[in-house]
């Protein structure tokens, strides 16, 4: 179902930030994690993660670091910066407000 373009604008950013809030991950792990936690409802087109990741990195919300993976390969791990953590809080808040508002409208009818 869900292609990223179908997601509400900016939601992918929120998902990435949230996913990274626990621990640093590489791109593939982020995609997997989003799929798993959403019970496979949100199927991100995996490649489109990367433009988003790079945008977030350019803006300073997350930081990319090249280090060795479990298999001994050079992999780019993304982690949340402190600014990114604050950003996540804000995004979450506005998401909650938005979804609550949508709930209200949907329930009222």
């Amino acid at each position: 179902m869900g292609k990223p373009n179908d997601l509400v604008q900016g939601t992918l950013d929120l998902l990435i930030l949230k996913t990274l809030s626990l621990e640093p991950k590489h791109g593939w792990a982020i995609a997997k994690r989003i799929e798993q936690t959403s019970n496979e409802v949100l199927q991100v087109q995996q490649g489109s993660l990367y433009p988003a990741l790079h945008r977030l990195e350019q803006q300073g919300w997350i930081r990319g670091k090249w280090s060795e993976s479990e298999t001994g390969r050079q992999v780019k791990f993304y982690s949340l910066t402190s600014a990114g953590r604050a950003r996540l809080e804000k995004e979450m808040e506005s998401w909650k407000r938005l979804s609550a508002a949508i709930d209200l409208v949907v329930d009222a009818l």
Binding site: H26, G27, W28, A31, Q45, Q46, G47, S48, Y50, P51, H54, R55, E57, Q58, Q59, G60, R63, W66, S69, R73, Q74, V75, K76, T81, S82, A83
Partner: protein, 885 residues
């Protein structure tokens, strides 16, 4: 911390862009491998696993681009790419590129040079404290045309004491003296100035060494003190700081050196070598006179708004002084002008003219490069159309083309700026009498101006062709390219339009240059009123310490003349205070006792000269009436004068002036002087109108007024060869006495016309350069048209057109923009002529000779430029032309 992180990413993106790109691919690869591994672990075979992973991942190429577009510095990357393309296209056509770059370099270089000079001379404030508040005050005689007249010492004293509108006022006058050799130096005649004690304080000038004058030193009878300029301090005293406090001898009198002026101080001009106090530079009875004018007055305004009121107050005072001195030449009013205008006065118009000429040339250069680019645009028409068809945005294409002209301008500009350094230097060295020449230098402002010009040129030259070459309908371009019989008519129109502009500007330049050159020739050949071939002039001034009696002065003058006459090769010799063309010297007012008193405001005024009996015949100035001075007109028997023709016609119309008198004060008291002769007119300065002139016998010998003399020698051969023998006669009489201004009459004329000759030659050079550019442009357009129309011409010929008709066809096509440009240029030239009217001499702004000559030279050049392509057109073989299709 976020910004720190961002800066790190920015730097990474800027400097490690290549690495980052390959790393992004690594990321993608890793991702895909993980997915494939997962798929395989779910039981897929490796091929299917890979396909599935790719499907989930998406289009890698597109994703890569999307990711890149999130990166910073993309604009820079775009510019960089354009620059690379631009350089590549330019390198592919080196002939075109070199031509365009050289054209730009000349234009930008010349403009930058002129701007450097204009900025330093006209625009930069004077190097004094709060220079905007400095004004010069002048006397204004209501009867005189020239509004600014120098000030009498008595007037200055009263202005300063009795008015309060200005913060302060100071005065200075020209002075000069012979510096004696103290420690083996050569005796030297130096120009100097005498300044009131507060002058340097008023200007805000701190001495480099010692101090400035005190009020006590600025009075009659004070001990003699002197301030050295930095130049004299270095050249004559070797920069020895011990000179301060020591005595030097000027005109054989001891002067104590009290200070040295700073290196940058070169007011009023660098020829001034030392300063003495103002008042002691006068004779006691002169220092308070109201009718002897020679000083310049600098005043400091209290505030910028107070100028009108302050000048008004001084002017009112001057009118009272005028009324108290009825019958004497005392001005009615006072006028002011900003000090900076006073300093740059003579250079302003020529500089502006040159700047305008250079600007015209730059514009022509831009139009030319633009023209060349349009031609290239035509050649690349198909490429552009295809790129547009494939989705290249118009903006992108324009950007790319402008990049090319930016590259040309930057290369040309860099070259031009380097060129301008030496060009500025050259102009400053060649241009004598350029005020503030010592302050001229390049700085940040000049650089910023040059860079701004580079980009303005790039836009001007690049935008027109870029817009035109992309504006055409896509379809028609592609259709055009299949058959070119009527192709690209519009582009040719654009090129012709640019050409018209180019030719118009060229004509304006040519006309201005023609007018200036004609003025210069008029000036150079204008009749001084005396013989100018084989004449040597040499000045000396007898110091009044040794030569304190009229007898002594006379003995020297006569002794020298006697010795010079005896030299072999001397045809004639004479003495005069200032030779023709050598300057104004001074004027005196007078009345004519035989004439009934006229209205009080009419002042009779004449230039004054002192001459010996032999002067007029030595310079072959004709005697029109009466007689020359004789040897009897000497010492106290000198109540005789000779007047010029102009004097006679102006003040004795229809009368015989011989035997009449003029009443004037040569020194301090009025005398009645008898007119004994009338001589031909001479010019005091080239380019100035003839003025009524009155001559007094120099054999009067007065130590104050007859001690400065110019010996004029008419020689049989080369006059300069006589310089040394004559100089030896001076040293034989007085080894301590220096001579100066050793010049032939031709050199005097050359000096007087140097700046006119210089600016006329420069403008002419610019005009010729522009003419060449226009010719190249015309040639380019026509060659292009002939190539474009070769098949059309082929068809015409196949149908029976004669070669002569083809020739005419192309010529007419080429000459149309020339004629249009000529009309536009002639009218522009008329306007330009009016604007430079004030620097023209002996010619009118609408001089038909100049206009015709310049129009003809333009037409000839244009014809030559068009004939080559036209001939090529009529040699086209119809068969070949048609086969080329």
């Amino acid at each position: 911390m976020r910004w720190l992180h961002r800066i790190r990413v920015l730097m990474l993106m800027l400097f490690n862009r290549g690495t980052e790109k390959s790393r992004l691919n690594q990321e993608f690869e890793f991702h895909l491998e993980q997915q494939i591994a997962e798929n395989v672990s779910h039981g897929m075979d490796p091929g299917a696993a890979r396909a599935a992973a790719m499907r989930v991942f998406g289009n890698t190429g597109l994703l890569e681009e999307q990711t890149h577009s999130e990166w910073s510095w993309n604009w820079l990357e775009g510019i960089w790419r354009d620059l690379r393309y631009g350089t590549r296209t330019l390198l592919r056509t080196p002939g075109f590129s070199v031509t365009a770059i050289v054209v730009m370099a000349l234009g930008i270089g010349a403009t930058t040079s002129l701007f450097t000079i204009v900025l330093s001379v006209l625009l930069r404030p004077l190097p004094f404290r709060d220079p905007g508040k400095l004004v010069m005050l002048y006397e204004h005689f209501r009867a005189f045309k020239e509004p600014y007249n120098v000030v009498a010492p008595g007037d200055f004293r009263d202005w300063r004491a009795q008015t309060h509108g200005f913060e302060d006022m100071a005065a200075w006058r020209n002075w000069g003296g012979n510096l004696s050799g103290e420690r083996g130096e050569q005796p030297e005649t130096a120009l100097a100035a005498a300044g009131s004690w507060n002058l340097f304080t008023l200007l805000g000038v701190q001495p480099a060494l010692g101090r400035t004058f005190t009020p006590d030193e600025d009075r009659i009878g004070a001990e003699n003190v002197v301030m050295l300029t930095w130049t004299l301090f270095q050249s004559r005293y070797g920069g020895d700081t011990n000179i301060v406090g020591k005595q030097i001898r000027i005109d054989s009198k001891p002067y104590t050196v009290i200070g040295v002026l700073p290196r940058w101080f070169s007011y009023p001009d660098p020829t001034i070598k030392f300063w003495v106090p103002y008042t002691p530079a006068f004779m006691p009875e002169q220092a308070l006179m109201h009718d002897m004018h020679q000083s310049l007055v600098v005043a400091r305004l209290k505030s910028l708004e107070s100028r009108t009121a302050a000048v008004k107050e001084v002017s009112a005072l001057q009118y009272r002084i005028h009324l108290q001195n009825k019958g004497k030449p005392v001005a009615e009013d006072v006028v002011s002008r900003p000090m900076i205008e006073d300093v740059v006065n003579d250079a302003k118009t020529p500089l502006i003219v040159l700047m305008a000429a250079v600007g015209c040339m730059l514009l022509i250069a831009c139009l030319n490069v633009s023209n060349l680019l349009v031609a290239r645009g035509a050649a690349r028409k198909k490429e552009v159309a295809i790129r547009q068809a494939l989705g290249g945005s118009r903006w992108k294409l324009i950007q790319e083309q402008v990049t090319e002209s930016v590259l040309i301008s930057i290369a040309g500009g860099t070259l031009g700026i380097l060129l301008s350094f030496s060009a500025t230097d050259w102009v400053v060295r060649r241009w004598r009498d350029l005020p503030r020449a010592d302050t001229i230098h390049s700085d940040g402002t000049v650089l910023a101006f040059a860079i701004a010009i580079v980009f303005a040129c790039a836009l001007l030259a690049g935008l027109i062709p870029a817009i035109s070459s992309t504006s055409k309908g896509l379809l028609s371009s592609l259709q055009d390219s299949s058959r070119s019989v009527q192709g690209s008519a519009s582009r040719a129109t654009l090129r012709k339009l640019l050409l018209t502009g180019e030719i118009g500007l060229t004509v304006i330049l040519l006309i201005s240059a023609g007018l200036l050159f004609r003025s210069f020739l008029n000036l150079k050949t204008s009749d001084l009123g005396c013989v100018t071939e084989n004449v040597l002039t040499m000045k000396y001034g007898l110091p009044d310490k040794q030569y304190d009696k009229p007898e002594k002065v006379l003995a020297f003058h006569e002794g020298l003349l006697e010795r010079v006459w005896a030299l072999p090769g001397v045809r004639a010799a004479g003495l005069v205070s200032t030779p023709p063309g050598g300057g104004y010297e001074g004027d005196n007012v007078f009345t004519i006792p035989e004439h009934p008193a006229q209205g009080p405001s009419v002042e009779l005024d004449a230039v004054t000269r002192k001459a010996d009996p032999g002067y007029f015949s030595a310079l072959q100035i004709p005697l029109l009436n009466g007689r020359f001075f004789s040897n009897q007109d000497r010492l106290e028997h000198t109540h005789t004068v000779i007047i010029s023709k102009k004097f006679a016609t102006q003040f004795f119309p229809g009368e015989n002036p011989i035997g009449k008198h003029v009443r004037m004060a040569f020194k301090d008291k009025l005398e009645d002087l008898e007119i004994i002769g009338v001589v031909g007119d001479t010019l005091h300065d080239l380019g100035q109108p003839i003025k009524a002139t009155i001559y007094r016998p120099i054999f009067n010998g007065d130590p104050m007024i007859d001690s400065m003399a110019t010996v004029v020698v008419r020689t049989a051969g080369d006059p300069l060869a006589m310089a040394l023998p004559v100089q030896k006669q001076v040293s034989a009489l007085d080894p301590e006495l220096p001579v100066y201004d050793v010049l032939t009459m031709q050199q005097i004329i050359g000096k007087a016309t140097a700046s006119q000759s210089f600016s006329a030659s420069l403008v002419l050079a610019f005009a010729v350069l522009s003419l060449m550019l226009a010719a190249v442009g015309l040639y380019g357009v026509l060659s292009f048209l002939v190539t474009q129309r070769s098949s059309e011409i082929g068809i015409r010929m196949a149908l029976g057109a004669q070669r002569g008709e083809v020739l005419r066809l192309v010529l007419v096509d080429g000459m149309r923009p020339v004629f249009l440009g000529l009309i536009f240029g002639l009218s522009g030239g008329a306007v330009a002529g009016m604007l430079i009217k004030s620097v023209l001499y002996g010619t009118r702004p609408l001089d038909p000779g100049v206009f015709v000559a310049m129009a003809v030279s333009l037409l000839l050049t244009a014809l030559i430029a068009s004939v080559v392509p036209a001939l090529r057109a009529c040699r086209i073989q119809p068969i070949q032309a048609l086969r080329m299709e």
